[in-house]
């Protein structure tokens, strides 16, 4: 349970909100590079943290993320003409470059220098791998670029997708660190999904349905370890790192690609659920990539021409009661991604946490909230940057491993939990 004020704090991310200000201290994925495929391509409307923005790629290939609305009389620049190194408003011809600087006001004499006095808010937009990242915090606090492993591997080793989730970001993120739901909600898919099946670890998962949990703090956030019995009194551990505030990496299964999520607020009622898949040492196979493109694994199928899932709240997520009854799926909904989104959206746009009844297995969630509220307090009181901003905190990995019974997984798996570019992951 959270008190109402605490729930409001963590779920409100608009420009004037305390958590919104802290959240803006991080680089976040803004859009897929494929959304701006070439120079002078059509601009894309982007809403992030309750701010309406416009992303575009100019004549020289420079990316910009600027205020959506023209400073003259407020027209959406989405209608703009992307030409000659800038975006020109079609109403009266005012023109802006990728930094939001107005570079032409046709009605005024060029010599007057009037256009220099007009500037739209803009944020950096940087391509790293297949993703365009932005930073919306104070310019003087801009941290170095993010160093997540999935974004640094060669393109043939990575696949990334995003889907619209019609709920607040926090309930989506909490679903990602809620390790006890996997044995229920997703149980039907572990053995059948092409991106999961066949791993030795699955055997431990399915033979021990009551895992024990350990929640351990780490500098950037948490490790959430779930252990099950393995052979000879050893434990099979699945260790999920959570890096503040919105990154997780799911423990690997066999040699399948590794994967995880980012959740980014669009506004307080919607977020982007980003899903990455990558293999640290090899290209994704044709079959793996095809499965991901087809919406398997943690990805999904879309309504044509959009990033909204095909199974969404308007069609009851294609609920299949027969599959539910037969046990083919536990909830009647197909696929990991929509199993999660359907239930998380059903909580309402902003989950009312004053009504929940948490139990001890929810300690991962309780601790994550605690870490964020604690960081928010020192951020607000002293201006201390929160954990997860420093790229050092990005150099982590999830792990699945068998360890002796009395070993702290933080020690036993210390090396395995550290990102090592080009080196194989530790997996069972």
């Amino acid at each position: 349970m959270l008190r109402k004020e605490q729930n409001d704090l963590l779920t409100q991310t608009g420009p004037a909100t305390p958590f919104g200000q802290m959240f803006r201290c991080y680089w976040v994925p803004a859009l897929l590079a494929e959304e701006l495929p070439e120079n002078e391509c059509p601009p894309v409307r982007v809403k992030l943290f309750s701010e309406r923005l416009l992303a575009f790629r100019d004549t020289d290939g420079k990316y910009g993320l600027i205020d959506e609305f023209c400073a003259h009389r407020g027209v959406s620049l989405w209608f703009g003409r992307n030409e000659e190194s800038g975006l020109r408003c079609p109403y009266h011809g005012w023109k802006y470059d990728v930094t939001g600087q107005c570079i032409d006001v046709p009605s005024e004499a060029a010599e007057s220098g009037f256009c220099k006095k007009i500037k739209l808010t803009s944020y950096p937009l940087v391509k790293i791998g297949p993703v365009l990242w932005t930073y919306m915090g104070p310019p003087d606090k801009q941290p170095p670029l993010p160093e997540w492993e999935f974004s640094l591997v060669p393109p043939e080793q990575c696949f990334i997708s995003k889907r619209l989730q019609e709920s607040n970001w926090l309930q989506a993120m909490e679903g990602g660190i809620d390790s006890s739901h996997v044995s229920f909600l997703h149980r039907g898919d572990l053995g059948s999904d092409p991106l999961f099946k066949g791993a030795k670890g699955n055997k431990y998962n399915l033979s021990d349905m009551k895992p024990h949990f350990e929640v351990v703090e780490q500098p950037g956030g948490l490790y959430i370890g779930a252990r099950r019995n393995a052979e000879n009194g050893n434990y099979y551990w699945r260790i999920t790192p959570w890096v503040m505030p919105n990154f997780t990496m799911i423990p690997p299964r066999g040699d399948h690609p590794m994967h995880g999520h980012f959740w980014v607020p669009i506004d307080d009622h919607n977020c982007w659920a980003w899903t990455y898949d990558f293999h640290p040492t090899r290209a994704l196979t044709k079959d793996e990539r095809a499965a991901m493109q087809a919406g398997q694994g943690l990805h999904c199928k879309y309504v044509a021409g959009s990033y909204r899932p095909l199974a969404n709240k308007d069609n009851d997520y294609l609920m299949d009661r027969a599959a539910q009854k037969a046990g083919k799926t536990y909830s009647g909904i197909a696929g990991f991604a929509i199993q999660d989104s359907s239930l998380q959206e059903s909580m309402g746009p902003v989950c009312d946490r004053t009504k929940e009844n948490l139990v001890s297995t929810d300690n991962g969630i309780i601790m994550a909230r605690h870490r964020m509220l604690r960081a928010l307090k020192t951020f607000t009181d002293k201006g201390t940057l929160p954990p997860g901003v420093d790229p050092e905190h990005h150099k982590i990995r999830s792990v699945s491993i068998v360890l002796p019974p009395d070993q702290a997984f933080k020690d036993g798996a210390r090396d395995a939990l550290t990102r090592k570019l080009g080196k194989a992951q530790t997996t069972v």
Binding site: E217, E345, G348, K355, D406, A408
Partner: protein
């Protein structure tokens, strides 16, 4: 289903969630396993709680397990030092939270967990002070708690216990 009078939740619809207390208070017993944790638990006990009660197992640390005259009943005392019957306390609990400091080897954990096990009461263990202790010390404490709990939390900050108890409606 077209016959349903409500569809998937929207912002507008969320207002219609019925407003009432959907749970009864749960009894949480918090047990300190060493002197440093006892200080933390004593401080916690000052707060306002629905149905949490606070104990220590310190008096019985080092007491022999088994043998003549051994009983599972002793092992617990309230914060004023009065001996409490472990079995009684566990029987009336919904959750037992054990608190230990990194570096200690809490003997009582096994006895308490055994009592919880026979009564099918959930246990959670919290290790505090991990920041200031070495990996070795931490492992020692971990090893003596891990077999006995389904949820173990290693917290860098003592405040966490309070946050957790509030979150669990203790």
């Amino acid at each position: 289903m077209l016959s349903e009078s409500a569809r998937m939740t929207t912002a507008e619809e969320a207002r219609y969630r019925i407003d009432y207390p959907n749970s009864k208070p749960r009894a949480t017993k918090v047990i300190a396993l060493d002197p440093a944790s006892e200080a933390v638990v004593k401080r916690l006990a000052q707060g306002q709680w629905q149905q949490a009660s606070f104990f220590t197992s310190l008096k019985f640390d080092g007491a022999p397990r088994g043998g003549e005259g051994w009983t599972m009943k002793a092992w617990l005392s309230d914060l004023a030092g009065r001996t409490k019957d472990l079995i009684d306390e566990v029987t009336s609990a919904d959750l037992v939270v054990m608190v230990a400091s990194a570096g200690t080897k809490p003997d009582a954990a096994g006895v308490i967990a055994e009592a919880c096990g026979t009564r099918k009461v959930m246990t959670t263990a919290l290790i505090i002070g991990s920041e200031a202790s070495s990996d070795e010390e931490l492992s020692k404490t971990l090893a003596s708690l891990r077999p006995y709990t389904s949820m173990l939390v290693i917290a860098s900050n003592d405040d966490y216990i309070e946050e957790m108890l509030v979150a669990l409606r203790a």
